[in-house]
């Protein structure tokens, strides 16, 4: 045990904590990009292929809905393990940042798809009809009406997604991805260094608060209703 401590925390642990924080940010950041890249198109498809949608396609809608529900019903920890062979094929490794980001993305796409879907459903049908009556193509309706009008809702949905992702990233980290979750388990759980555990918790709380605040602020700024 070190003699000098900051509120009980051994200063020699600080570089590890900073590294872990950075790893978490990287993991979450890359995952968010991947999740948005797939989650937004998925949410759009769920809406436009539904009955009465601008590209109505009942069979496709049913299949997508089923897959999304299937994905969401898997506990993350099981998905994480089950995906190991796929992760290895796609990312070339199952550990480190690359190994952790892949299952995070896969696990969160269905969730994000639903968030996007519910944001898009808030857009008044009348606006879509007005655009169609003006001669808009389905693509123009999606980009210039649906996504644009739903932007505040999309930001709120993304905020919720990022916050749950931070929690999941701790789990992914613990199975070899590094980051704050990994750190908390290695020091806090396995070596009973409670101060390290508390420090990681404080950092996580600050992250969550900041993201929520930023998301709320941005959504309110862009909401012109």
């Amino acid at each position: 045990m070190a003699e000098q401590t900051i509120l009980g925390l051994d200063p020699s642990r600080i570089p590890d904590i900073l590294t872990a924080t950075w790893e978490t940010l990287l993991m979450v950041g890359w995952a968010v990009l991947g999740i948005l890249a797939f989650g937004i198109p998925l949410g759009v498809l769920l809406v436009v292929t539904d009955t009465g949608g601008i590209l109505e396609n009942r069979p496709l809608n049913r299949v997508l809905g089923f897959l999304v529900n299937l994905g969401r019903s898997f506990p993350f920890i099981i998905l994480l393990v089950a995906l190991v062979p796929v992760t290895r094929r796609v990312m070339g490794t199952t550990i480190g940042l690359r190994g952790a980001v892949f299952p995070l993305i896969v696990a969160a796409i269905p969730f994000m798809g639903r968030q996007v879907e519910s944001a898009l459903r808030e857009v008044d049908r009348g606006l879509i009809e007005a655009a169609l009556a003006m001669g808009a193509t389905p693509g123009q309706v999606i980009v210039r009406v649906l996504l644009r009008e739903a932007l505040p809702g999309l930001i709120r949905g993304t905020t919720i997604m990022i916050i749950s992702l931070i929690g999941y990233s701790a789990m992914a980290g613990a199975v070899g991805g590094g980051g704050l979750g990994d750190l908390a388990i290695r020091y806090g759980y396995m070596r009973f260094e409670t101060p390290v555990m508390i420090a990681t918790l404080i950092i996580l709380v600050i992250m969550v608060q900041l993201i929520q605040w930023l998301g709320d602020w941005l959504a309110r700024l862009l909401d012109r209703r």
């Binding site: 009348g126 009556a133 003006m134 001669g135 210039r144 644009r148």
Partner: protein, 331 residues
């Protein structure tokens, strides 16, 4: 300009019931006129107007806009045609995330106009509807009447041949309604734009329509120039416009006659002249003076102390003076 023939629209509800919203509707909207469709709730008015630009696909029948058969167009052709047909809505349907100017620019953006040309056209339109100072405001900051003026500017942006209006004034108070109607009238006159509007407000028909169709239960009951329909004895429009004369009975030896004076006659003392010429007293039981656009229309219910051939002579005289009549009851 718009020719609808034998149009039928059957909706199938999720539980498999069939609803015949339009049942063989035909009408003809002439170039440059304001054509109103009036009828009670559920008559099929919205279905009709939504079929014209194919927001709703007709079950059968034909729709021609400026000679083009709408029901046979391919996707891209239909979109091109829709750019020629402006539409305004009861609830305005403005894009909340866009400023007034950006709303008006929307149809031009999707049609691929260059930026500078859009900017000029938008300025022109805002000037037309009197909203130049609101260009940067968002719809949520506008009153109902201002919102509808943005809707109108947006509908006119791509220089359409036809404007469709689905209850454009139904969500507005009477004063704002008058302003919007005046604007539509002005646009119709100045730009020569053909307007098809649907409404359940007789005020709208009276104020600005040249022609009208009366709809009920998916059918057109009657259609024609407003003045002619209003003064045609026994017309649905006439009945909707006027107090009902039911329950009155004439004294023996006299007849109850409803008189309609349209245009200049409404302002002339025809009744007293006829009374004098025929040496009789005319008893006026009810009456009103109304205006269609700028044309005055008077309606009177009178009791004439005449029956049989003597009555016919008076009626012939009335006809000769340009008064339309309907014998309501004979004593």
């Amino acid at each position: 300009m718009i020719r609808v023939e034998n149009l039928t629209k059957v909706y199938t509800t999720p539980d498999g019931r069939q609803i015949r919203a339009l049942d063989g509707v035909s009408l003809h909207v002439r170039r440059g006129e304001i054509f109103g469709v009036i009828g009670p709730s559920g008559a099929g008015k919205s279905s009709l107007i939504r079929c014209i630009n194919l927001l709703e696909r007709p079950t059968s029948g034909s729709i021609q806009v400026d000679g083009k058969e709408m029901t046979r167009l391919s996707g891209p052709e239909l979109r091109r045609e829709r750019r020629q047909i402006g539409m305004i809505f009861q609830h305005f349907n403005l894009f909340w995330s866009r400023t007034v100017a950006e709303n008006v620019a929307f149809p031009l953006e999707i049609a691929g106009w260059p930026r500078e040309k859009i900017r000029r056209r938008v300025a022109e339109l805002l000037e037309l509807v009197g909203l130049t100072d609101k260009a940067r405001a968002y719809p949520a900051q506008l009153s109902g009447g201002q919102k509808q003026r943005v809707g109108i500017a947006r509908a006119l942006a791509a220089e359409p041949k036809v404007l469709l209006s689905d209850e454009a004034t139904s969500a507005l108070d009477p004063e704002t309604t008058d302003q919007i109607l005046a604007l539509l009238r002005r646009i119709n006159r100045e730009l020569g734009l053909t307007i098809l509007l649907i409404t359940h407000q007789m005020e709208v028909v009276k104020a600005i329509c040249d022609s009208v169709a009366v709809m009920s239960q998916g059918r057109v009951l009657e259609a024609g120039p407003v003045l002619e329909l209003a003064s045609r004895p026994g017309s649905h429009l006439g009945r909707m416009l006027l107090p009902s004369w039911n329950g009155l009975t004439p004294s023996p030896g006299s007849s109850l006659v409803a008189l309609t004076f349209a245009g200049q006659v409404a302002l002339e003392p025809v009744v007293t002249r006829v009374a004098r010429d025929h040496g009789m007293d005319i008893n006026i039981l009810a009456g009103e003076l109304d205006a269609f656009g700028s044309v005055p229309v008077g309606r009177l219910l009178v009791e004439l102390p005449r029956v049989g051939e003597e009555l016919q002579a008076v009626l012939a005289d009335l006809s000769a003076r340009g008064v339309r009549w309907e014998v309501v009851a004979r004593g």
